[in-house]
Symmetry: C2
Subunit: 296 residues, 2 copies
């Protein structure tokens, strides 16, 4: 298939997850208030929806009902949105702009931003509890999501990342931090769909796990690369913010060219895993290849 087909697919899935999440918000919180406005502002502010796209792409490759993917994708995007709100706070990364718009605490206030993040995390688990699946699997999904965003996942990674500011890290330390901070949730987007696949082989699940790992690594390296070379207007946040925060980045320890090569290599490793999957994995392949060519 041509790239155009996949671009259309991307756009359709982005619309799909946005509509699904908007519907969750409308149905559950028909009365708006400051908290609902704040969390809606951040959750519905666009973004590439990479994690939901991964869940839908995995659903295609495993021949899983897209209606199930909606719940997984929404729960993960809610966790992602909460983490961005908290990461942007003055006490953390102190960012005023996100996707070209004022961050949640700038648009509202710090207290509301903290609570909006907290409420989004609870909402993620609530949404997952409504998925139409065997309750045994729902419990596994919830466990995997909680592990992915807790001490041994995203929150743990962010803590290590903050502790490492002003320190020169080696590559393996950086790999660990990023596997926790961003990799765990990216992996969950794929592996949670694996849990929903009742007739998948262990080989398929292992391949998905490896795909998600390599995807996550490529994603993070490219993120660091774009922070150096990206255009502020395109990526919607100040360029060079890592450097000004004295953060170790892949370009700072490997150089720009080797970082790009490493990202490409991870993307290729990810794609190489896809042969064993039962369904159509062409969209998972596209996403891994698109990743390393993205400009924002």
């Amino acid at each position: 298939m041509s790239d155009g087909v996949f671009q259309d697919k991307t756009s359709q899935y982005q619309k799909r997850i946005n509509a699904f999440m908007a519907d969750v918000l409308d149905k559950n919180y028909p009365q708006s208030n400051k908290l609902v406005n704040a969390l809606s502002y951040s959750l519905m502010s666009g973004g590439k929806r990479i994690r939901p796209l991964l869940s839908y792409a995995t659903a295609e490759a495993l021949e899983i009902d897209l209606a199930q993917a909606d719940y997984v994708a929404a729960s993960i995007e809610m966790i992602h949105a909460y983490s961005l709100i908290h990461d942007d706070l003055p006490a953390m990364d102190n960012d005023d702009l996100r996707r070209g718009k004022p961050t949640c605490h700038v648009q509202f206030d710090d207290a509301t931003a903290i609570l909006a993040g907290d409420a989004l995390q609870a909402m993620a688990f609530e949404v997952l509890s409504y998925i139409d699946a065997d309750p045994k699997i729902i419990v596994q999904l919830i466990r995997l999501l909680s592990l992915s965003c807790g001490v041994l996942g995203m929150a743990g990674g962010q803590s290590l990342d903050l502790e490492s500011e002003n320190k020169q890290l080696d590559k393996s330390s950086m790999d660990i931090i990023h596997q926790l901070k961003t990799g765990a949730l990216i992996s969950a987007s794929v592996e949670m769909m694996g849990l929903l696949c009742t007739n998948c082989t262990d080989e398929s699940k292992l391949a998905l796990r490896q795909y998600a790992y390599d995807f996550g690594m490529a994603f993070q390296i490219i993120d660091d690369v774009l922070d150096v070379i990206g255009d502020e207007e395109t990526i919607g946040k100040p360029v060079g913010s890592d450097e000004s925060n004295n953060k170790s980045t892949y370009p700072s320890i490997m150089g720009l060219d080797d970082s790009k090569k490493a990202a490409l290599s991870h993307s290729q490793n990810a794609v190489a895993q896809l042969q064993v999957l039962p369904g159509d994995s062409s969209y998972l392949q596209y996403l891994a290849e698109y990743l390393v060519s993205r400009k924002s």
Copy 2:
């Protein structure tokens, strides 16, 4: 039974939940780091463990395995601990002391306190996923917990509470705020145990719901009363902090005497519900009566 028996029971259940949570932390996070230290510091800093006591007392009254109550009690206490950490932050209530010790962000730093709260919320849902029960019921437990601490529960209540600072509220507005901010999680401590009761009548579950509502109301009113008359050393935080934060309190709108009477009336309403329960509800009765006599 004499009060002494119930005091011993309280002490034993406090030890039980502390040991259970310490075990969860030790097993899951054998390697300590700043984040683990921060969340352990807050979670294991003592406190009355009112919510776990309610869960154990309800287990007695419904003849439910205490081993199941451990998971419910721990998950709720983790949510409670996270909410205290976030509420104490400079952007929220800006409290330096909690239970006579420096608050989490003072002992560590603001960023770590935000992440410790975030990680504790994830941990609560993870712990619940391990409870030995029918997966259908586990999913219901997780849904109830998420509802209790999200927009329509604790986080929503805290947001309304912050918005109401410097405003004079009437009693019904205050009731709503407190039902969300503290009542929802107190109710969950009781109602989650009701979900675990497979042979309970609807009448029993309704009675528990009403008990928890009245318990929560009495709890909050007494909290406000103690903020006016309590002794700083006994309650471990600055007395009069509500007044200095310009918060409406029950004593400020009803007067001290009528507040005490209202608390007593809610406590009596709570106790009146207990007759229909199948098991021994004497400890639930004791907790509701102890509540209005507490000095801290």
